[in-house]
């Protein structure tokens, strides 16, 4: 049985940062990922990473922007930690080799981003996530003796010992199909978000909520699952992301009449209001008939100087050219709000600890919560790094402290049986896995998106529960061992359905409008009743609801205008 003091599941920014932090503490570390680490979705983060590092800026200002952005649902103690530690982390990354943009003096330069009161976003062209992640992977290669990498290993279940502590993980080696039970004193889930539950989404195909579902299934609490971010600028159809950096560089949003409509919705911040605000504004324009026939509005980047576009928005030039056939330096590009980010997730404290001893979570899988009802652009990379590092360090400290227990082989046998059962389903006995995924994605995008109401969410929940039944007989074509993606797809479908059910239940429960949760039947924010987190715990009858306090340190909730 492979054994490590700390085992990290997921190798995006949060996972890699956690692994490096744990290794620094001198414990043995393993990092397991269902794809090669550099394929992780942190790649897709384009615009940058926030930190109050400039002399004129302050962490308090960054914290306040984040809290206001979160619509006061973010926990202020966690936000304080994140914003205070941000400058140090940026400098650490710079010292490791990240090629951050420089100003004319050769110092770190910044760009403006949405919802922020200062230009505090550090960046590498518009490949910031990729640039940071590749540098962290360089470090993993450098420290290969301290950190064992299990690349293309797919995790199916967590192992919990008799005392209710997490002590390992069952994973499948994708290359040959062998199942392995890993022992660990601490397990960190850093598996990203659940964007694939929606269709279309900006998220990669691998973002199927694996970590959230695995934690939920062993009894960890989930939090704020109703808070799903729709990004204001995604391509219609495929859902590809156009970075907020485009608006940061000065691009305008126009409706079909050529009006810069943000004047009506956010007269001060205009295009750089919080994402939930901009997405609602766009959707309102589209719903009220001022959009284009393809259900979009336009993003006009032609107002940004060409040289600047080529230097700072290069990826967007390529996305426009290759995926929309549009030269963004010459004409506006059609965009719409699209599924983008999971603010909710596995409930953790500021050191990544979940309700289950030994089980940690960080990054998009986790909900600390620093994003509350709405994440600010360029705060997600920061979240992954700060809480990845803190989880890694605390997980290592725990590993040094405890004896650790040996996971029972029972969990491995269960997972073997689960796979054998999927393999035993006869072709044609049920629906194809892909059909169920498509219906799920379209349902969620129609009913649990920018604008929601009770009837729609209830309908979605009903559909999700039916699909859960149908998934039990969904069949696959591939019954082999080597690189059986068909089988992994069936397991991922199970993860996605658990995520979807939780989101529907929480969205139905929160009878107010806050951040990304906008209920047309309860259009106002209601701090008296709903300034609280919705927590969910698995039972035989589905998610059970409880509530927890929002931590407020020094910023009392106020009306939120941009």
């Amino acid at each position: 049985m492979p054994s490590h003091d700390v085992l990290v599941i997921g190798a995006g920014l949060a996972g890699q940062r956690a692994a490096l932090a744990a290794a620094e503490e001198g414990v043995s570390v393993g990092i397991v990922s269902k794809v090669h680490p550099v394929r992780s979705h942190s790649n897709a983060a384009q615009g940058g990473i926030n930190a109050a590092l400039n002399p004129g800026d302050s962490w308090e200002s960054h914290a306040f922007d984040t809290i206001k952005g979160s619509d006061y649902l973010g926990d202020q103690d966690a936000i304080e930690i994140m914003t205070r530690e941000a400058p140090e982390e940026i400098l650490h990354l710079e010292h490791l080799g990240v090629t951050f943009h420089r100003n004319e003096e050769g110092k770190l330069g910044t760009r403006a981003f949405g919802g922020a009161s200062a230009a505090r976003t550090y960046y590498v062209a518009d490949i910031t996530g990729q640039a940071i992640m590749h540098v962290l992977y360089e470090q993993l290669m450098k420290y290969s003796e301290q950190v064992a990498r299990y690349e293309e290993w797919f995790s199916t279940a967590l192992a919990i010992d008799e005392d209710g502590e997490c002590c390992g993980v069952v994973t499948r080696n994708v290359a040959d199909g062998s199942m392995e039970l890993f022992q660990a004193k601490s397990v960190i889930l850093a598996c990203g978000g659940n964007g694939q539950v929606w269709k279309p989404t900006t998220n990669a195909l691998i973002c199927t909520g694996d970590g959230i579902a695995m934690a939920y299934r062993v009894g960890a609490k989930l939090m704020d699952m109703e808070m799903i971010q729709y990004h204001p600028t995604t391509l219609a159809g495929k859902g590809f992301l156009i970075t907020e950096g485009a608006r940061g560089e000065g691009a305008h949003l126009l409706n079909a009449n050529g009006e810069r409509f943000m004047e009506k919705y956010a007269p001060n911040k205009m295009e750089l209001a919080s994402r939930d605000v901009v997405s609602r504004a766009e959707q309102t324009e589209i719903d009220e008939g001022r959009g284009f026939p393809d259900g979009t509005v336009a993003l006009d980047i032609t107002v940004v100087p060409k040289k600047r576009v080529h230097e700072a928005l290069r990826e967007i030039v390529l996305v426009g050219r290759d995926f929309a056939g549009v030269d963004i330096t010459r004409e506006p590009i059609h965009i719409k709000p699209g599924n983008h980010y999971t603010m909710g997730g596995v409930k953790t404290d500021v050191d990544g600890r979940t309700d289950i001893p030994g089980l940690y979570s960080a990054g998009e899988t986790a909900c600390v919560s620093v994003h509350g009802g709405n994440r600010l652009g360029a705060n997600s990379l920061l979240d992954t790094l700060i809480f990845g590092r803190r989880s890694g360090a605390d997980a290592a400290a725990r590993a040094k402290r405890i004896e650790g227990s040996r996971p029972s082989r029972q969990v491995l046998e269960q997972e073997d049986a689960m796979i054998a059962e999927i393999n035993s389903r006869e072709k044609g006995s049920g629906r194809r896995v892909s059909e169920i995924k498509l219906e799920l994605g379209q349902t969620m995008d129609a009913k649990v998106a920018v604008f929601r109401d009770e009837a729609g969410i209830a309908e979605a929940l009903e559909t999700v529960r039916r699909l859960k039944e149908e998934a039990k007989s969904a069949y696959i074509d591939d019954h082999g061992s080597v690189f059986n993606q068909d089988l992994l797809g069936a397991i991922e479908l199970g993860y996605m359905l658990d995520n979807a059910e939780c989101t529907c239940v929480a969205a139905l429960e929160r009878r107010e409008s806050r951040g990304a949760q906008y209920r047309t039947d309860f259009p106002e924010r209601n701090d008296d009743e709903w300034l609280k987190h919705i927590d969910l715990e698995q039972t035989d009858d589905g998610p059970e609801i409880s509530y927890s306090e929002v931590t407020i340190t020094q910023w009392e909730p106020e009306a939120r205008t941009y």
Partner: protein, 376 residues
């Protein structure tokens, strides 16, 4: 919606059978990708078709493959364009163009695991690790950030843009001949450190890459990697930058490529046209010293080139025998030589590397300059 036929080179390792071709019909918009076609096939017809993929937007680097023989990303190749290319290939081969299938194969220069999935670990990643792919600064880091030229960061951002998809490796002709060649992706990665002013072991890195017989001089300038790269990293350009830096460090190039280049430049500066009889000598032992006392390598190379010179005379390519005598080549008449020198001066004053990564294509460059001029 349009209908297409994709012809996939399949390999199912557990079947005990060798690789085989299989055709699938797909139906999708021409603007959708070859990867979309494969995913549709997986979803609707055959879930056992293996292909790595994740982002669908040319950023994760998973779906490297060969499409109609050309290495690239499945997600970045539009199916309509792939069809046009397939038709062009068929018509060039004199085959009927109607309903030509789009041919999809796993990447080259790598073992195949299953269908379109290749073993990148034993090839691509092993080569990447070969170049010590992490920053090697000296001493303690500064309290704040390292202060560096802004252009230096933009310069290496081109190689940082590499997504490790392996398309360049798949297309590399040198690697086909020499599987040990470090290759385009790993050498582009190496330039990312050599060009990084924060790295303190630049010279050591250059020696390492120049002295390895499978290193920077193993590249044959075939441009395949530049064509294949979906991110405009232009790996060959990065290799050429490494060579230039090695030359500047005085590292001996076994092919004398750098000195050869300098010899070209100097002779033309002096004479306006190329005095080929001087070229070899100047390449191996430049200057007066070389004339009086040519190096052994220069003599060897000059003797070795005699058959070429004889062939040149026989075929009429070399019309004047006097041109064989070093130094007899005349200068340009009148003031023409001054014009050549003026060109050199202009080039030196505008000594700026034309980096496509930053400036876009040439047409755009002109537009940008006009824009800047208009804005003062």
């Amino acid at each position: 919606m349009a209908e297409y036929t994709i012809k996939v080179r399949r390999f199912q390792p557990e079947s005990g059978e060798g690789p085989y071709w299989e055709e699938f019909g797909v139906e999708l918009e021409p603007s959708l990708s070859v990867l979309d076609a494969l995913l549709q096939t997986k979803d609707r017809e055959d879930g056992s078709l293996a292909v790595r993929c994740s982002c669908r937007a040319a950023i994760c680097g998973s779906c490297g493959m060969k499409i109609n023989g050309q290495s690239g990303l499945g997600c970045k190749t539009q199916i309509g364009e792939a069809q046009e290319r397939a038709d062009k290939v068929a018509s060039a081969a004199g085959e009927p163009v109607a309903a030509t299938p789009i041919v999809i194969e796993p990447m080259g220069n790598m073992p195949v695991v299953k269908d379109l999935v290749t073993d990148m670990e034993s090839t691509h990643w092993t080569k990447i690790r070969r170049v010590t792919p992490w920053l090697l600064p000296h001493g303690e880091p500064p309290e704040r950030e390292y202060i560096v030229e802004p252009e230096s960061m933009i310069d290496i951002t081109q190689s940082m843009a590499c997504i490790q998809c392996g398309a360049c490796v798949s297309s590399c002709l040198s690697m086909e001949a020499d599987p040990d060649f470090i290759g385009p992706a790993a050498l582009a990665k190496a330039y990312r450190f050599v060009g990084d002013p924060r790295d303190a072991e630049t010279v050591e890195r250059l020696h390492d890459l120049a002295e390895d017989p499978h290193g920077i001089y193993d590249c044959t300038h075939c441009f395949s990697c530049v064509d294949a790269c979906p991110k405009d990293v232009a790996p060959m350009d990065q290799i050429m930058r490494l060579r230039r830096r090695a030359g500047e460090e005085g590292i001996e190039d076994p092919n004398s490529g750098h000195d050869h280049e300098i010899a070209f430049v100097k002779i033309i500066e002096k004479k306006g046209t190329l005095d080929e009889s001087l070229l070899l000598q100047e390449s191996f032992a430049p200057g007066l010293k070389g004339k009086l006392k040519p190096s052994k390598r220069a003599i060897k190379e000059m003797l070795g080139s005699i058959p070429t010179a004889i062939r040149g005379i026989r075929t009429g390519k070399m019309r004047s025998l006097s041109k064989l005598i070093p130094g007899i080549h005349h200068k340009l008449p009148d003031g023409a030589q001054d014009e050549v020198k003026a060109i050199y001066r202009h080039a030196e004053e505008h000594n700026e590397e034309f980096n496509l990564y930053i400036k876009g294509d040439e047409g755009e460059l002109a537009e940008i300059e006009a824009e800047e001029a208009a804005n003062g």
